[in-house]
Symmetry: none
Subunit: 200 residues, 4 copies
DNA sequence: GGGTAATCGAGACGGTACGTCTCGTCTTCCT
DNA sequence: AGGAAGACGAGACGTACCGTCTCGATTACCC
């Protein structure tokens, strides 16, 4: 049973995975150093020494590279410690989330969002592959509270929108900080809100 | 004393205001017909018969034209009838808002948001000139409820973020409809949320 | 009666004719310095400081530029002094032609021929715009002799092919020099040949 | 003593000779179907199912493949029946030659010529390996006439150039057909020409 | 039958040029 | 003067083909 690991290897010379990583890194670095408009296939190629053709072999379009480069970083998710109460859970989740969004992850998510708004196809993918994971965390958190009898859950995902909407709103508009105090305040408000839900 | 009425008029031939309007319309039409990427100075020039130079005389950059073109349409705001209760007010506001966002105004706002995410300078302007007007409506609504004694208000704008965040979240991600049922549900939830606020 | 020369000028900024000339020159220089493969739109652009777009505005494809650049040089034609005899005329024509083909004009013609062999469309143009001029010279020369009663002319252009064929053959294959002695020899032979023609 | 025929066989897996033939055929087919520019290593590889590497193992460069593919077909030479007179010989030779050049052989020779014009090294080879054979035929033909006393021969190959020049001229430029009538006319003219030659 | 040496298909790789596009500016003539 | 027409420099886009290299798998001879 030795060969069966390698048996799935496709024919032909494999991608140089160092290149794949280098290109992703370059895209991220370009954003941080010179801003969104500096993310350019040409620049990535020059900076990494990878030929343009090699880039286009991996990623069909510029957008694909950008998305892929930032996807990884965007997907950092907090742990979901069970604090025993909904408010405790929410507070822990929001504190951790805000903390990440204050760092590179925040910028990264803004980039992905920017791309998503310009490409309907990617918007779908962005929702289904990335955003959904955070939504599921919130769902799980609420479900746990419902199981404890702390609240009822509506049939749809409305509550999740209510929790995450303000987070994205602040992240994208940068109109107010995403600090711990805000996390705690949001947690408290959501807790009241959620607990007031009646079955539909 | 002939000249003093026109004395503020700049020297030289004045702009043809029909052109200004035509360019704005063309930008909007291009978006609707072929999508965001089709909004091009070149395309606007061709479609309107206005020379590129004339466009650049009015708007310094492409973004300026886009912003200007969509600003008008984006700023439609609902009336704020006083229904006597916070939930009634919220429901009326959200129903009206959702109704507008389902139309051209929604798409328009998505475009402006897209531009804002790509241009920090414009983001500021977008927030201070456009978004703030809707925020003020929500503030006014909440203030009215506070005056009635229905709720307390925190020192900052947190509540406004909580109300508008989910709206923008849905508008931008298009993950769920902005229909009347949702408006009502949102209104109910917010009402509970807001009324649970304690002074800070 | 002032404006009628310029009255046909098209609207808009006119081409910078210095650029047009510079590009043509650059193409020729590149050939001479580094060979045919060095004639590159990119290289022409860099060397002249003209943007690629400006080049493509004038010449639809690279081939068009090449053709145009070399057409001028390729089209140098000898005078046709009337020496009074066919052999004298032929000798003068061939000496002058060989002389030119030994210089830049020869290389230029080889380049154009190379292009023509690779592009049927251009072959046609090459024949009708360039080659035909030299053919007409030979025709004129022969016609003059016929008018003098030195020879008859066949209905078609066979004789022209017989005169110019060997010239091109030597130019392209470079199997033998195009010197004065050869010119004289060719002239003598052709004279005999032509004078032996009987009406068809 | 079985092995001594194969004893020169190099170690390792031998070339698949079917592939060698297939590639040659593909090159020819590509020319016929889509023209000269379509002859591409990539296209040959795809069309034959042979990997590019396998092609480059056989032929060092694209030109080598092209030349090799077309060389075979280009070398068809007519028989040289002795008709007893120079004109008869010339006529037979030209008729046969034209006949071949009207077919694949003509196209093939145009391709080789095209390559030769782009590669001085190959030009030499083309002349010495291919063109020379036809030149020798003409030489032989003239020698025969000289032996018969029909004409004198100059010291150099001028006469051969005069005979073959127009043929190539017409083949390459495709300005006039290579039909039997032309062959006959050429033969008659050449005969007069050749017979007028005086020793130099 | 195992070792050696070359082939094979598949396909990634760097390089280089292609021809296109949009941006924002500049230059011409016309009204 | 304004305005249309459109050339201009800059520079990214995505594609094509070149000739090379890297995989694992497959023949062939030889010992």
């Amino acid at each position: 049973m030795l060969g069966y690991i390698a048996s799935k290897m496709p024919p032909g010379r494999p991608f140089n995975s160092a290149h794949t990583a280098a290109a992703r890194t370059a895209a991220i670095d370009l954003l941080e150093e010179q801003g969104y408009a500096a993310i350019t296939m040409e620049a990535v190629a020059e900076r990494t020494g990878i030929s343009k053709q090699a880039l286009y072999r991996r990623w069909k379009h510029k957008r694909h590279l950008v998305v892929d480069a930032f996807a990884e970083k965007a997907d950092l998710l907090p742990d979901l410690p069970d604090t025993g109460t909904l408010q405790g859970d929410l507070q822990a989740f929001l504190r951790a989330t805000f903390s990440m969004l204050r760092g590179t992850c925040g910028m990264t998510n803004r980039v992905l969002f920017t791309e998503a708004l310009q490409d309907p196809e990617f918007l779908l993918e962005f929702r289904e592959r990335h955003l959904i994971r955070r939504r599921r965390q919130v769902s799980a958190l609420l479900q746990r509270a419902a199981d404890r009898g702390e609240c009822d859950l509506p049939a749809d995902d409305t509550l999740v929108d209510l929790v995450l909407g303000p987070v994205w709103y602040r992240l994208l508009l940068q109109n107010a900080p995403l600090d711990e105090a805000t996390a705690d305040k949001f947690a408290k408000y959501f807790c009241h809100l959620v607990c007031s839900v009646e079955p539909t």
